[in-house]
């Protein structure tokens, strides 16, 4: 169905300017001589956060096949090459090397609402958008009522789309795209917009497309829940290379540990969190066991701080909130080492073994005080971390609730 062979894509970084013309001329010159341009031999791996040369491989030696009817999720961090891959598949741009073989009608939803014209009415835009996506006029005509119905914008259908709310925009656009009837559907993060009702509708439609019609779907998303929900296979991209191709669960797990690698980095402060009393250095958050913070891994904070005025009875308090600003706890204690001796620099390691926070994102604040009565220094929420879900028992889904305590039953069989 889709065969991807040795696909690589090179990009040149930086601005296009007079220097580009020099490069172009150089390239032509090397081409005429039949030699390779030495500049192009130092193409580097595409790492977003490191400094390097001007040429990078956005994709490097990608090989995989997709069978008919398969729903494949493509995951990876920002800049891993997901969108580039989809762009190559949908013929928006060409690969530098390699080839892709596709079979049948291919439609891509790289961004819904492509080619909407603000001055035209919803109805006119359905035709325009449909044609851009490759439908014929008669095809659109036959599906028009269905599309309008699906979009839920019936009342506005003869109003110019510039009067639409952004959500309606997306609804209408997705409605057109959902009725494309392609053999291969390429979807890039379209579900991130729209309200909950619409997301449900969209996912339902995509399931219908893939499940009922035996169509092939390539789906890019950062939303692991929808990947899990829709796909039967996942491909993990990292710095432009395929690092995993196989079961969805395994791919998601690898992706998450990849993410938490980033979170485990040390936080170094210059003067941000210091005042006349306290200065915090090198704050680090890590799981107590395993590679990433999960429901049962426990959390460890380690850092050092300067007690500038050698104050006695310093206490440290941690406050963790969830993203809705609900404080989960605010708790701390006096550091024993400072009760008798006047100290200046201290290394701290705090462990919270049985926190059992449920999967989700949390943020942290640290407060220094004297004898838990006088405030010395308070940070804002300076650090965000993610608690990964983990299968406890048979259920591998993310469950509701703020905490996921470990429950122990002691049961006696009575009869």
């Amino acid at each position: 169905m889709i065969e991807i062979k040795n696909i690589s894509k090179m990009y040149k970084l930086g601005l296009i300017s007079t220097k580009t013309i020099q490069d172009d001329i150089k390239n032509i010159f090397y081409n005429i001589l039949g030699k390779k341009n030495p500049d192009l031999e130092t193409i580097e791996t595409n790492t977003r956060d490191e400094k390097g040369g001007d040429y990078v491989w956005a994709l490097k030696d990608i090989n995989f096949n997709v069978k008919k009817g398969e729903v494949v999720g493509i995951i990876g961090k920002n800049g891993a090459g997901k969108s580039t891959l989809l762009k190559l598949l949908s013929k928006v741009t060409k690969p530098t090397t390699g080839h892709i073989k596709t079979n049948g009608k291919l439609a891509s939803l790289l961004e819904v609402g492509t080619g909407f014209h603000n001055e035209l009415s919803g109805r006119e835009n359905i035709f325009l958008n449909g044609a851009i996506l490759g439908m014929s006029k008669s095809e659109i005509k036959s599906k028009l009522d269905e599309i309008i119905e699906f979009s839920g914008c019936k009342r506005y259908i003869d109003t110019p789309v510039k009067r639409y709310s952004s959500g309606m925009h997306v609804r209408l656009a997705f409605a057109v795209a959902a009725h494309l009837d392609p053999d291969v559907l390429i979807v890039d993060e379209v579900l991130a917009v729209g309200d909950a009702e619409f997301q449900r509708k969209a996912i339902g439609k995509m399931k219908e497309v893939s499940g009922g019609g035996g169509r092939t779907v390539l789906f890019v998303s950062h939303n692991m829940a929808s990947i899990k929900n829709l796909c039967d296979r996942a491909i993990l991209l990292e710095n432009g290379m395929v690092t995993f191709d196989g079961s969805v669960d395994k791919a998601i797990e690898l992706y998450k540990s990849q993410n938490s690698k980033d979170l485990k980095k040390e936080f170094k402060f210059s003067n941000k969190f210091s005042n006349e009393y306290i200065q915090i250095d090198k704050f680090k958050i890590s799981p107590m066991k395993g590679n990433f913070i999960s429901i049962s891994s426990g959390i460890e904070f380690s850092f050092s701080f300067k007690n500038k005025q050698r104050i006695l009875n310093v206490d440290i308090t941690y406050e963790i909130s969830n993203m809705e600003d609900l404080v989960i706890f605010h708790s701390g204690q006096v550091i024993e080492e400072t009760t008798k001796n006047k100290t200046e620099e201290l290394q701290v390691k705090t462990q919270i073994p049985h926190l059992n926070l449920n999967a989700g994102n949390y943020k942290l604040k640290v407060v220094f005080g004297q004898n838990q009565s006088k405030l010395l220094l308070t940070t804002d929420y300076f650090l965000e971390f993610e608690v990964q879900n983990e299968a406890l028992g048979a259920n591998s889904k993310v469950l509701p609730g703020i905490v996921r305590p470990n429950i122990k039953n002691s049961i006696k069989i009575i009869s």
């Binding site: 390699g98 001055e119 044609a131 851009i132 996506l133």
Partner: protein, 280 residues
């Protein structure tokens, strides 16, 4: 189901006309979009299409006809200028509008594939509609002068009009897509085109007759006829107004020139369209 291969190899003459035919609905929807959206939320609506040539004609009549007293081959000044302006507008609009195809449409091009040539083609057709409206205006004024017994004599050569339109479209499209291909990487050409087309108008016998240019330039008069637009304007004036320099030889030159230009344009465009998203 047809198998399709996407690969970096480029065949110079690999223009997929069949595919363009498949997307003809899109072509006409683009035409409709461009035509309709121009006068949405205006009071005068499509009238704007004729206001512009009327005022340009008036200004030309006052400046070049009355103040500078440039001869018009004995033709009524209003008709003389309007004939040239109507044709020139078509050509100039085709060039300027197609010349920024890639830049203005990069948002669509970056998201979805369709034969890129559809967009410049739709611009040529949209402008043809505009030309139609302006041409009707010209005909109306022509009839007015005929009715009042002016010294004009439309003749059998008016049937060359489709050929003239074809040559202008080919020239406009050819120039336009070559420039649009170049602007994907270097925007310099955008500046060039905006004043270049204005200067080009003065190199074409619109505000003066070719006969005058030939007389003044003497042995250098080939410069005036080397301009492929010259024979079109002159044929137009000859056919509809009855005075101008008509020669099949010059017209054939324009036709061949336009075909070669279009051919080069399509090849260049075809080459650029596949990777332009990386540089635009």
């Amino acid at each position: 189901m047809k198998e399709e291969v996407i690969s970096p190899k480029k065949n110079l003459f690999d223009v997929n006309l069949k595919e363009i035919w498949k997307y003809k609905d899109l072509l006409f929807l683009f035409v409709r979009r461009d035509f309709v959206s121009v006068y949405k939320q205006t009071v005068l609506g499509p009238l704007w299409f004729i206001i512009q040539p009327i005022f340009t004609t008036l200004v030309f009549t006052v400046v070049f006809g009355q103040l500078a007293s440039i001869p018009t081959d004995g033709l009524p000044q209003v008709l003389f200028y309007m004939c040239g302006i109507t044709c020139w507008n078509y050509f100039a609009e085709c060039v300027t509008k197609t010349s920024n195809t890639f830049v203005t449409n990069s948002a669509i091009f970056g998201k979805v594939y369709f034969p890129r040539l559809i967009l410049p083609l739709s611009i040529i057709i949209t402008n043809l509609l505009k030309f139609g409206i302006q041409f009707l205006l010209f005909l109306g004024i022509l009839f007015y002068y005929l009715y009042n017994g002016s010294n004009i004599s439309p003749n059998i050569y008016i049937f060359t009009l489709p050929l003239l339109l074809f040559i202008m479209a080919a020239l406009g499209l050819g120039f336009g897509i070559i420039i649009s291909s170049l602007t994907t990487k270097y925007r310099d050409f955008q500046f060039l085109i905006s004043f270049g087309i204005q200067l080009f108008m003065y190199a074409t016998p619109i505000v003066y007759p070719l006969s005058l240019a030939k007389e003044k330039l003497g042995t250098y008069s080939w410069i005036a006829t080397a301009n492929p637009m010259t024979s079109i304007i002159e044929t137009m004036k000859f056919a509809f107004l009855g005075n101008g320099i008509f020669s099949w030889y010059n017209l054939a030159y324009s036709l061949i020139f336009s075909l070669i230009l279009l051919f080069i344009g399509v090849i260049v465009f075809n080459r650029v369209e596949k990777t332009f998203m990386d540089t635009v």
